[in-house]
Symmetry: C2
Subunit: 210 residues, 2 copies
C-alpha cells in the first residue's frame, strides 16, 4: 500500500471530517455513500470531496458511490489512525482532567496511559483509571509506557521546560494548551482557546455590522 | 477610522498571534518592535508580517519599527476586541467548568456572565462568581444579560437543539465543543479535540517514518 505521507494539511483536515460521516454511515448500516452526500454535510463541493478521496487512491464506483467501511479504513490508514497511539496528560487541572475523560480519546486508537502533576494531593490518585504520577518521574514513566504523544496542560511559565523534558523522554508530538509558542523539534498542535474566541468575535462583527 | 471587515481569515489568525507578542513587548516596557522580531517568533517571513500589518493601514517607521502599544490597539480595533463581549457557558461539565476558569477569558474583553446546566445539583451554585442557571431559563437570562457569544459544551445528542435555542435568544456566535456539525445561521467556531489529535498523529507519522 502506498503510504500517502505527502497529503496536504488542508486535505488531512477534511479527511478527518469525512471520517466522522463515514463512521456514522457504517453505524447506520449503510453500504454505499456518494461524494455529494459527504460534500453536503460540510458545505463542500462534490469536486472537492472527490479530489480529496483521490489523494488516497480511492475511486468511487460511478452511479454507486463509495463503501463507507472501506473508505473509513483507507482514511484511518492514511492518517496513521490504524494503530494505537499512547498518550500522556501533563497537568491535571480542569483542562487536563476534562481531556482524560473526553470520550473520543477512548476510542479511535488514542490511549491515555499516564498523567503527571506536581500537586501532592493528586499524585497517586487515579482519574478514569489513569494513575497520576509526580512530574519528577516524567522521564522513566514515559519511556516505560511507550508514550508517543503528550497533552500539555500546565501553566504558561513552565510549559517550555516541561515540553523539553517530554521530547528528551521520547515524546514525538505535543498537543499544547498552554498559551505559549513552544520551541521544540517535534510537531506541536497548539490550542489557544482565547485566539479561537477572538476569531469568533471578529466573524460576528463582520457578518452583523451593528 | 476605516473598519477593515474584509481582512482575510488567515490574516486575522496571524494578527491574533502578533497581539500576544505585542502585549508581551508592552509588558516588558519596550517602545519599539520590528517586523522581523515579530516574524522570528512565529517562523514567518518579514514580508508576511509587513503585509499583514499593512492590512490595518499601519506602517512601521523605517529603521525604527512599530510602537507595540499602538499596534496592539490597532489590532484590537480591527478584530473588534476593543469592546466587551458577553459570554455564556452552556454545559458545566469538565470542559465547561475549565473554560469558566480559563484565565484569558477574564481579560481581553470577554466576560463570562452566565452559565447553564440541567444538573439539579449544580443549578444555583456559582463557579468563579458566575451563577449556574437551569437550561429552562436560557432565553430570558441571555436576553437580560445581553449575551452575544456562547460556549457550547453539552453532549452531542442535544447540541443542535440547544444551539437553535441560543440563536433564537439572540446569541450571535457559538464556540462549539460538541463533536457535531451545527446547522445554525450564525458563525460557529468548532473545536473538535479528537480531530486535532488526529492531525498531530498524522504529522508525527509523516515527519518520523518508523
Amino acid at each position: 500500500m502506498p503510504l500517502p505521507t505527502d497529503i496536504p494539511r488542508p486535505t488531512v483536515k477534511r479527511l478527518s471530517l469525512y471520517l466522522r460521516t463515514l463512521d456514522l454511515a457504517v453505524a447506520d448500516g449503510r453500504t454505499t455513500i456518494s461524494s455529494s452526500t459527504i460534500a453536503r454535510t460540510f458545505d463542500f463541493t462534490d469536486a472537492q470531496v472527490r479530489r480529496d478521496l483521490a489523494c488516497l487512491g480511492q475511486a468511487g464506483r460511478p452511479g454507486v458511490g463509495y463503501s463507507p467501511a472501506s473508505l473509513a479504513t483507507r482514511i484511518r490508514a492514511a492518517l496513521s489512525l490504524d494503530r494505537a497511539w499512547n498518550i500522556a496528560i501533563v497537568g491535571t487541572g480542569k483542562i487536563g482532567t476534562a481531556l482524560m475523560g473526553y470520550p473520543r480519546f477512548a476510542g479511535g486508537g488514542f490511549k491515555v496511559l499516564a498523567a503527571f502533576d506536581t500537586n501532592q494531593e493528586r499524585i497517586g490518585t487515579t482519574i478514569f483509571d489513569v494513575v497520576i504520577h509526580p512530574l519528577s518521574q516524567l522521564h522513566e514513566v514515559i519511556l516505560e509506557a511507550g508514550i508517543e504523544l503528550a497533552v500539555l496542560a500546565v501553566p504558561a511559565d513552565v510549559a517550555q521546560s516541561v515540553a523539553e523534558r517530554l521530547v528528551e523522554a521520547g515524546v514525538k508530538g505535543i498537543l499544547n494548551f498552554a498559551p505559549v509558542q513552544l520551541q521544540v523539534n517535534v510537531p506541536v498542535q497548539p490550542i489557544d482557546l482565547s485566539r479561537v474566541l477572538e476569531q469568533l468575535a471578529f466573524e460576528v462583527s463582520s457578518t452583523s455590522p451593528s
